[in-house]
């Protein structure tokens, strides 16, 4: 770990899954996990988490607040496969079965700083009306085999989804050594000062 020429860059993400808006549902909890490429490795913190169950606030906003903290650090050698956070929200249906209320994913912001993201959530749809009824009745709604598929493009064409609700996330992003490795993700104002960036895009 020499400071002169680092061999990895670090991405520190902390923040929280702040709140959600699911006008129709109550008593929800959420799970998050990170999906990242092969060149990425978590070095500290939790990659996955499951939150408490929260009920709607009594006021008009009817927000579901979790304030569930995220704190994870990745190291990587390649921006390809930049981490994405995958969220899945669950809650009981009328019969008390835990069913999925929404899936969603978003990339961790590239630039350092504080970012707020509101992710629209969606759930897979049943293949037929009868299926819909039975799945409602049995409390076994269609689910993704792995929530991580929402972070990938492969195979999505066979599914149909319906969107419902939003989840708001807050990220505080800190990066280290990105610039040294030739990746410039900083905000525009700091970029302008540094002048033309070194032609390091292609590491020697």
């Amino acid at each position: 770990m020499t400071t002169a020429s680092p061999s990895v860059f670090l991405l520190m993400v902390n923040g929280q899954v702040e709140s959600a808006q699911f006008p129709e549902y109550d008593d929800l909890y959420c799970k998050y996990c990170f999906v990242y490429g092969q060149d990425w490795a978590p070095t500290a913190g939790l990659e996955e988490g499951i939150s408490q169950i929260t009920s709607k606030s009594q006021d008009v906003r009817q927000a579901l607040v979790w304030n569930f903290p995220i704190d994870v650090t990745f190291k990587s050698t390649n921006p390809y496969g930049w981490p994405q956070i995958v969220l899945s929200v669950y809650g009981p249906d009328v019969f008390g079965n835990d069913v999925v209320r929404g899936y969603g994913a978003v990339h961790v912001p590239f630039s350092p700083g504080r970012h707020k993201r509101t992710i629209p959530m969606f759930v897979p749809e049943s293949t037929s009306k009868l299926q819909k009824f039975t799945s409602w009745f049995m409390g076994r709604r269609p689910e993704y085999t792995d929530p991580k598929v929402v972070a990938q493009g492969e195979g999505r064409e066979v599914t149909r989804v319906r969107s419902q609700g939003f989840v708001t996330l807050l990220f505080n992003v800190v990066t280290k050594d990105m610039r040294k490795l030739g990746y410039d993700t900083g905000p525009a104002d700091t970029q302008g000062v540094s002048g033309p960036s070194l032609p390091q895009g292609f590491p020697q």
């Binding site: 061999s7 897979p124 299926q131 590491p203």
Partner: protein, 1571 residues
């Protein structure tokens, strides 16, 4: 009043401002603003005030009235308002007002001005008190306004005033102004109202009477005169003029308009806009944007070219006669066979492609190469010169010309001599003159040729001398070139004579010429002399005259010009001197001709010279030579600019020649448009670099293979190479001189020798595409616009055509759209610069490349990323690719590169014999191609892959679940619940375990006392007749009394090894031990990749070995026996069971009794039966030979096996048949879902084929048939054994996650690998050809799972054959591994088992009974007579005995080395004597197929190795690779003996069968000398 107009514009402002001031006044109402407005400051103020004044008047009038009324009627409410002091104050004020107000209203009637003045007065009186800003009613006023009843009178009066005002025409403007304020005032009033409402709501509630009329002011409608409005609009609005703007206005000062189009720049077509609109826009822009940014240099508005195409690019649809319905209708067309579908097959049995072009690339020769040393350069030059010489020599033009000259001379001679009578002397003279001129010409030519020849010869000699000196100088030779100058002796005299004669002839000819010339010149001279003389005369006469004249006029002389003074006297031409001519001729002759008597020099270049060996060369030269060795070359063949094939990579020879000698048969469909070769050079392990490209001419249609001559095409490259050794480099200057002068620059160049020709088909028809294909005759109406449609795609490669088209269609050369085309044409027509052979679409691509491709390829990081994304197995899961190249170790690529190299180089070490190496390579290719085929299929996800969804429950499930509710919670007989299946993704190392439950074993061989005399045991003769019939009599109860009662016969234990993890059970006792132990073995997936695809391709095998634990007393001293026990544990291998992991993975569990694979000879053991002990089992056991073990194997947790891709494959079967088979399968699956039913299978090309096509009688090898000519059963057994010797390779392993592929028998024999189906098909076909009734049995067996067996009908009974082991079982054999039967397949039908049971023991194999067997082809669907996919006949090559013997030796060596490796801590001694004994014995085993030899062998061994304790056994395997053999030897554990004085013996025997099927016997033994 006059001033009013001028102020009109301003007047609006105060009015508009009012709301603001009003708002302000709300807060500052009580402010100390006591100053009243000055009455006559300006007209505006006045007007304003007058309006307000009138309002106030009204208010006051109303107020006074209201007040009075209030005072009268409502005395009570007053006190209520005494809440705020301010209001009290107000109230008091009210009292003073009424009188004045009445006054003022009355005054107002008189005149406007008067009323105003007065009003102001009154206002002044009011104002000080409430201090309301001017123009606003105070709160009280407002209140009064709303609360009091107003009298109608003052309103009337006001109306009147207004009316009077209106009469005054000069006041109209003012009036217009004045109309508005009242409305505004009204607005304010409403505001006031609201304000008051808050305070005084109560008052209103108290029932004050107010009429609607009181609040409404009736006024005339607003009006503005048109003139006025126009005036205003004129001020407000800007209407740009439609007049054209002069250009100077649109341009900056003093700037001349500049027309880009005139300057030759492309401007494009401006969009169509009408002139007026443009003018309007320009005018507007001029006013609004004075900076003239919108105007271009030419003074016009800037405009982009029109983006709309002038014509539709979509072809018109013909919709005249066809209805839409008809067009939409889809037509079904049967897929046609693609000719190149099976390009990977070894045997090119496919019909050839449509057309074939044979390209023969024989080799490559460099005429210059960077690695050339100086000597090479010279050598190349020499070779070139010599080639030239040879070419010249062959043509021998000089000789030809000499002959011609001779002939001409003769002709002249004869022409002169024999004057022909019928020709006039004129014509003769003319012909002679013609001849002579020709002679002259020819002579000149001849001289030139001769001179050339001579100089060439001289240069050759010069270069050779240079080379010699260079060789001398550098003290080594690099090239074997040697020049020999052969002197041809000539007859000096004759030569001299000829030479002289020639010269004489020439001289005479020349003389003649000269005399002719002389005569001519003389003629000229004479005429000119005449002229001169005449002139002289004239001159003289003139002079005379002049003299006279001079006397007369002396001044005339000066005027006299001398015009003809310069006419000189012509010089008479010199007569030619013979001597001079002779001199000239002789000189020339010596220069260009061989001197008489001089020997004729014939240079001969040979390669006889020797090259100095490396060790005698200086270092730089050695380096150069090494560099040359590192280089290798290959050629790519590009057909229509696509790479179609490439030659093998061949190293560059020291002579800079590369020999390829490859012929490429290009099977083509299209007419070739271009044919090129690309020369690639690789240095070391770096990537190939393109040296040059050579374009080959497309052969004429008359050039066929075999007749095409080898041609040489020259190529050269412009690469610059500088080398740090002797090599001179390329494109860099170098010199031969020491001082560096006389520099040379040579470019890499060379010649490719090749020939291109059309192939000739089998029936002699040349495979040339028809000519119609060549001319692409599609020309459309868009010809002018579209180059491709007008001249065809092929025209694009033809520059001239393209240029012509461009000229015809008058393309705008400045249009950027046409830029690449124009550039291309200009380049092509100028013809000097580099003409690319392609029409590049993205011509800017290179500019966008941030590094060159080469650099990118050199980057290790990029390479790694690329390989990973291509999912190359070595890099598939490569994590964290380093950031910098320097951090990537070279060794990362080593494995991969090695593999890549191995793909081309056939590794003989692993495979030993070449055929198998080729097969292995081929299998690899098939695998790759199949995997690539299915890679796309794998990308298709099903819904079930993505989403977990409950099935729609049917009634039965609902019923069951209802039933479940009523079920007992804890039933007395609990039902087994299925284990939860785990999907493979989220697993890691250590999660998966293999559970092996070893229950018991039967009939383990028992030890024989070594010392006891050999006794003839009861051998079960494996006669066929006894096989099926239970014959207990064969095992006569002949247990002997050698064993003392109580001594254990055998102490077996089981060792399970998997992935080099070894577990073993405890030791049990006796030949029928029961362990009942569970062993747990960890499972590791390759690369930690637990994906389904990866798990499927695990090739590991679970070895279950049974050992006998033998205790040996090692005490050497009997006296110590009392104090301690010293024993040594030895273990003797008895047999093993091998179960591949893939089987376990797909079966989920394996449960059953398996036959132990016991070597045919197990020295020291015998299968003694103790009838006393095991009478109970006897009846069962007697049915079969061998030992058995009961096992239960499973994986914990249970893994979900990957499902094979359910894809519909293309098929050439009839559609009806496919439908029928689908229906049949569906019906069968509905009735018996667990029974295997197969109707169609997938062949090696990935096509669906009906299964019966695989069955057809095929001839077994003659060799096998001739062994037992009379014994059909023995032959059958032999054939089965032959089939079983073909190595087994499960499809599922090779084609992970992919369906089963069936290869035909000839493919199977070519590949020498296949799984059950291939074995079964081959065996079945052999049986059919032997005349047996045979069927393929599809069913389940242990341990294979779903498999294929062969059923045969022998007189009166059925036999079931296991094709992979060669064993056969009777139908009623309990130990038959086939456990259930799904269907039978014959050559012409399929029968599905619809009997109640499916165990072969319980079913009837009579397929004629439709109640028991459902047949595919029946009366309703008769057998259509499907042709077989099998070949007509199998052709067997005799095996190469010598190769087998060689392989045998190598194997023995390898295995011996391995055993020594496995014993790193001990010395391994080899007992040669024993080895040779064993070696003799193995062929016997092969002959008897492992039977019946044990006892003889044993006796012999005992005889020879009497004092050794011997344990060992022969292993028998089919040969596929070396590794399985090594594994098998390892698994026996022979090497584990660590007795100090142990010796080993190992012998290998390979018996070759036809078609390279090899049977391998390995005899391993350990020997311990008895003391």
């Amino acid at each position: 009043m006059v001033s009013e107009k001028s102020h009109l514009g301003n007047q609006q402002e105060p009015v508009q401002e009012e709301p603001k001031t009003y708002l302000l006044s709300m807060t500052a109402r009580r402010g100390p603003r006591s100053l009243p407005p000055i009455p006559s400051t300006s007209r505006t103020g006045f007007a304003e005030f007058s309006m307000r004044g009138r309002m106030r008047e009204k208010l006051q009038a109303a107020r006074s009235k209201a007040e009075s009324a209030l005072l009268q009627e409502m005395p009570t409410p007053r006190p209520r308002r005494l809440r705020s002091p301010s209001k009290k104050e107000l109230e008091t004020e009210f009292g003073t007002e009424p009188g004045k107000k009445v006054e003022s209203t009355q005054q107002e009637i008189d005149s406007q001005s008067h009323s105003r003045v007065k009003f102001r007065d009154s206002a002044r009186k009011i104002k000080p008190k409430p201090q309301v800003p001017p123009g606003f009613p105070s709160a009280e006023e407002a209140y009064n306004f709303f609360t009091f009843n107003f009298d109608p009178e003052p309103e009337d009066s006001e109306k009147k005033t207004k009316a009077s005002h209106r009469e005054g025409t000069n006041q109209e403007e003012e009036e217009g102004e004045e109309e508005e304020p009242p409305a505004q005032g009204g607005g304010k009033e409403t505001d006031e109202e609201e304000l008051l409402n808050g305070d005084d709501a109560e008052d209103f509630l108290l029932g004050l009477d107010h009429m609607v009329d009181d609040f409404i002011a009736v006024r005339p409608a607003d009006y503005e005169s048109i003139h006025d409005r126009l005036q205003m609009e004129r001020e407000m609005l800007f209407i740009p003029s439609r007049q054209a703007v002069p250009t100077y206005k649109k341009l900056p000062e003093n700037v001349q308009p500049r027309f880009l189009e005139d300057e030759g720049l492309y401007t494009g077509v401006r969009p169509e806009v009408s002139r007026t609109n443009q003018n309007i826009m320009e005018n507007r822009l001029l006013v609004q944007d004075p900076e003239r940014r919108w105007f271009g240099d030419d003074g016009r508005i800037l405009a982009l070219p029109n983006p709309i195409k002038p014509f539709p690019s979509r072809p018109p649809v013909e919709t005249q006669e066809l209805s839409i319905k008809g067009e939409l209708e889809t037509m079904y067309k049967k897929a046609v066979k693609y000719v190149h579908s099976s390009q990977h097959m070894i045997r090119s049995g496919d019909p050839p492609g449509n057309f074939q072009l044979d390209i023969d690339i024989s080799g490559l020769l460099f005429t210059h190469h960077p690695c050339f040393s100086r000597e090479h350069v010279l050598a190349a030059k020499l070779a070139q010169l010599y080639d030239q010489y040879l070419a010249r020599h062959q043509r021998n033009k000089a000789k030809f010309l000499t002959d011609k000259l001779q002939a001409l001379r003769n002709a002249v001679q004869t022409g002169l001599d024999s004057e022909k009578p019928h020709q006039s002397p004129d014509t003769i003279q003319k012909t002679i003159n013609d001849y002579k001129s020709e002679i002259r010409q020819t002579r000149k030519l001849r001289d030139a040729e001769q001179e050339k020849d001579r100089t060439l010869l001289k240069t050759i000699i010069k270069v050779w001398k240079e080379m010699k000196s260079l060789r001398e100088f550098q003290r080594f030779t690099n090239t074997p070139l040697k020049l020999v100058l052969r002197k041809e002796k000539v007859d000096q005299k004759a030569d001299e004579e000829a030479y002289e004669a020639e010269i004489q002839v020439e001289i005479s000819e020349l003389l003649e010429e000269h005399t002719e010339e002389y005569a001519q010149k003389m003629e000229e001279y004479r005429t000119s002399l005449q002229q001169w003389k005449a002139w002289r005369k004239a001159q003289k006469a003139k002079k005379k005259k002049r003299k006279q004249a001079a006397e007369e006029h002396p001044y005339d002389e000066t005027e006299e010009p001398y015009p003809e003074e310069d006419l000189v006297k012509p010089i008479p031409p010199e007569p030619t001197d013979r001597a001079v001519i002779e001199q000239e001729v002789r000189e020339r002759a010596t220069q260009s001709r061989r001197r008489p008597g001089e020997p004729m020099l014939v240079p001969e270049l040979s390669l006889a010279g020797s090259i100095t060996p490396n060790n005698q060369c200086p270092r730089a030269e050695v380096l150069r030579r090494e560099d040359v060795k590192k280089r290798s070359l290959y050629l790519k063949v590009l057909f229509n600019n696509k790479e179609v094939s490439r030659t093998v990579t061949r190293p560059l020879g020291a002579d800079f020649r590369v020999h390829f000698g490859q012929i490429f048969n290009l099977q083509i469909v299209n007419w070739p448009e271009s044919l090129a070769l690309q020369v690639y050079e690789t240095i070391g392990h770096s990537g190939p670099t393109l040296l040059a490209e050579v374009f080959l001419p497309i052969p004429e249609t008359t050039v066929f293979t075999g007749r095409a001559p080898i041609e040489e095409m020259e190529f050269s490259s412009n690469q610059h190479v500088t080398l740090d050794h002797e090599g001179v480099g390329s494109g860099v200057p170098f010199s031969f001189e020491a001082d560096g002068s006389n520099q040379l620059i040579l470019m890499t160049s060379g010649k490719v020798s090749h020939s291109v020709a059309w192939a000739i088909g089998e029936n002699g028809i040349p495979l040339i595409p028809p000519l119609s294909q060549q001319n692409i005759g599609f020309r459309s109406a868009l010809k002018r616009a579209d180059a491709i449609s007008s001249i065809g795609t092929s025209g694009l490669t033809d520059m001239k055509k393209l240029a012509k088209w461009a000229a015809e269609s008058k393309l705008d050369p400045n249009d950027p759209n046409n830029a690449p085309l124009m550039q291309l044409i200009s380049v092509a027509t100028s013809g000097e610069s580099y003409v690319p052979d392609f029409f590049r679409l993205e011509q800017l691509q290179q500019e966008f490349n941030f590094v060159s491709d080469q650099e990118l390829n050199r980057s290790k990081r990029f390479r790694l990323l690329l390989l990973r994304s291509q999912e190359v197995p070595e890099f598939r899961n490569y994590k964290q690719i380093p950031v910098y190249d320097r951090e990537i170790m070279e060794k990362v690529f080593q494995d991969y590169e090695k593999r890549l190299r191995d793909r081309n180089v056939i590794e003989t070490k692993e495979h030993i014999d070449t055929h198998r190496a080729i097969v292995a390579k081929y299998l690899q290719q098939v695998r790759e191609s199949v995997i690539n085929r299915f890679l796309i299929a794998k990308q298709y996800f099903l819904l079930a892959d993505m989403i977990v969804e409950e099935e729609v429950p049917n009634i039965s499930i609902l019923g069951l679940s209802l039933f479940k509710l009523a079920e007992q919670k804890r039933p007395l007989r609990p039902r087994r619940k299925g284990r939860k299946k785990v999907t493979a993704q989220n697993l890691s190392d250590g999660d998966i375990k293999l559970l092996v439950n070893i229950v018991r074993a039967y009939d383990i061989p028992v030890r024989k006392p070594a010392v006891s005399k050999f006794q003839q045991p009861s051998r079960s003769s494996r006669m066929f007749s006894e096989k099926h019939a239970a014959s207990p009599s064969t095992h006569s109860p002949n247990h002997n009394a050698d064993y003392p009662l109580g001594q254990v016969l055998v102490r077996p234990f089981v060792e399970v090894s998997f992935q080099r993890t070894v577990c073993h059970t405890t030791t049990a006792e006796g030949p029928n031990p029961s362990w009942n132990e569970e062993l747990e073995l960890p499972f590791r997936a390759p690369n930690g990749d637990y994906s389904t695809a990866s798990l499927q391709s695990v090739k590991d095998v679970v070895f279950i070995n049974i050992f006998d634990e033998v205790l040996h007393d090692v005490l050497e001293d009997d006296r110590e026996r009392g104090s301690g026990i010293h024993t040594r544990i030895e273990r003797h291998w008895l047999g093993c069971v091998k179960i591949p992991f893939s089987t376990i993975y797909f079966q989920a569990r394996i449960d059953g009794t398996f036959k132990i694979d016991i070597p045919p000879v197990l020295l020291g053991y015998s299968k003694e039966r103790n009838m006393i002990l095991e009478r109970g089992f006897d009846s069962v056991r007697n049915l079969s030979e061998g030992s058995y073990i009961t096992l239960f194997i499973t994986i914990e947790p249970q893994l979900v096996p990957g499902e094979s891709v359910q894809e519909k494959f293309e098929s050439q079967e009839d559609e009806k048949l496919l439908q029928a088979s689908e229906k049949f399968q569906a019906e069968c699956a509905f009735k018996f879902p667990n029974r295997q039913c197969l109707t169609t299978v997938i062949d090696i090309n990935g096509k669906t084929v009906f299964i019966t096509r695989y069955l057809k009688p095929l001839n077994p090898p003659e060799e096998l048939l001739s062994v037992y000519p009379n014994n059909l059963q023995a032959t059958a057994e032999l054939v089965a054994r032959y089939v079983s010797l073909i190595p087994f390779l499960p499809d599922t392993v090779s084609f992970a996650g992919i369906c089963d592929l069936w290869s035909t028998s000839d493919q199977f024999l070519d590949l020498l690998a296949g799984d059950e189906e291939e074995h079964a098909v081959l065996l079945c076909n052999y049986f059919l050809s032997l005349g047996k009734k045979a069927w393929l049995v599809m069913g389940n067996a242990i341990p294979e799972g779903p498999t294929a067996y062969v059923l045969t009908w022998e007189q009166g009974h059925y036999l079931i054959w296991n094709p992979c082991s060669g064993h056969f079982y009777g139908q009623f054999d309990t130990f038959c591994p086939l456990k259930n039967v799904g269907c039978l397949i014959g050559p012409d039908n399929i029968w599905f088992n619809i009997q109640r049971y499916d165990s072969p023991l319980r079913i009837n194999f009579d397929v004629t009974k439709p109640k028991l067997w459902k047949s595919f082809f029946s009366r309703s669907l008769p057998y259509p007579g499907l042709s077989s996919v099998q070949p007509e006949e199998l052709i067997y090559q005799r095996s190469d005995k010598a190769a087998a013997a060689e392989l045998q030796d190598r194997l023995e060596k390898i295995l011996k080395e391995k055993i020594m490796d496995w014993r790193p801590r001990h010395l391994t001694r080899w007992n040669r004597y024993c080895t040779s004994t064993l070696r003799h014995f193995l062929p016997l085993l092969e002959k008897s197929q492992g039977d019946d030899v044990e006892d003889d062998h044993r006796a012999e061994l005992l005889k020879q190795l009497g004092d050794y304790r011997f344990s060992g056994f022969p292993l028998h395997m089919p040969y596929s690779e070396v590794k399985p053999l090594i594994d098998a030897v390892y698994s026996t554990g022979v090497h584990n003996i660590d007795v100090p004085n142990v010796e080993f013996a190992l012998a290998v025997y390979i018996h070759p069968y036809p078609k390279n099927v090899l049977s391998v016997w390995i005899y391993v033994a350990s020997l311990i000398r008895n003391r």
